[in-house]
Amino acid sequence: MSHKKRRVSSDFYTSSILPYAAIIIKICRAYTNSQEDFEDYYQEVCLQIWKSKDNFKGQSEWSTWVYRLSLNVSMTLLKKKKNKHQHFASDYLPVEVVEEPQAFTDESLAQLYTAIRQLSEVDRGVILLYLEEKSYQEIADIIGSNPNNIGVRIKRIKERLKKLLDGKVN
């Protein structure tokens, strides 16, 4: 990559990605189980945002666009494991998940993330958007669903999360 192109991409990261890093971090954490995978996912999402930036037509907020792209990329990112087969990093969640200590200093948040990681890929996306205070309509637009069903699904996810947090469900 030329020096000029490298500088342009670095500028893009600083101006257009870094201010929205929180969104990417929150999503990537929900789809990965280790610091290493998280960092890989974070970098991949940044790369895909940069590669797709010309497709942003301003029909939605930039932040909504970042949510959508981060979710789409996280749901379909492949990792090569020791047996050489392709997998999703989120497949490797042992029941007794141990979050790496540097990830969360807040224990409740760490437990909530552990519970979220035990949901299906779609449910993780739905609950993350809900917790980020997106409306049902916005969640439906990002996921590609019916807003009426989102409310029902959120209720179900919250019940499951509560059970997981209370230790009633593995």
Partner: protein, 218 residues
Amino acid sequence: MEKSIESIWKEGFLKSDVLIAPKVNDIYNKRSEHIVDKFTRMFKINLVAIVVGSFFVVGMSYAVNIPYMGIGMFIIVNVLVVINKRLMKGLSKIDKNVNSFQYLKTFDNWMKEQTSVNEKFSRFLYPLIFLSMVSGFWFGGFGGDVPGDIMVNELLLSYPDLVLVFGIPLYIWLTGILITVLLAFFGGKIYRWDLNIVYGRVLRKLDEIIADMEELKS
């Protein structure tokens, strides 16, 4: 009092330093692990390898004086390259900037189309490669003696009662037809089996996600 998940979320991020972005190094030169990019890369590598391989086979077949085999295989595999180049265009059109359902569905449809096309083509690919090889060894080089005819003449000396069809012993016809039919039958299955070994787990997972989204949509 027990805290709600909403307050855990809000307060947890206020307290912790979890939102500090990891250090990124030269990310734009990083090899993407994204499923679409991986397929694009895999397609490109395969197509280049096939084209290079087809030229190598032609060269070798001339060198060992079985050019019909090389020419036949060159034509067959390059038809495969043209078909897959067209399929690859579809892959580059997949937009990650649409809703998750649409995005996954587009990829899934592409995947189904490419699997179906390659599976069908594999039913012809393996038999045609076999027939090219047989023709190569049978007809030998351009002009001169035909090795196949020499072999038949020698066989006739030992077995004068051999039944010939168009100058070729019936049992060779039957064996050739049997192998061709078997390769046609298993060709598609070999392709699926190969795809399944590498991407089976991922494709099943994608089906699961799409099914979940369809349920949420209906």
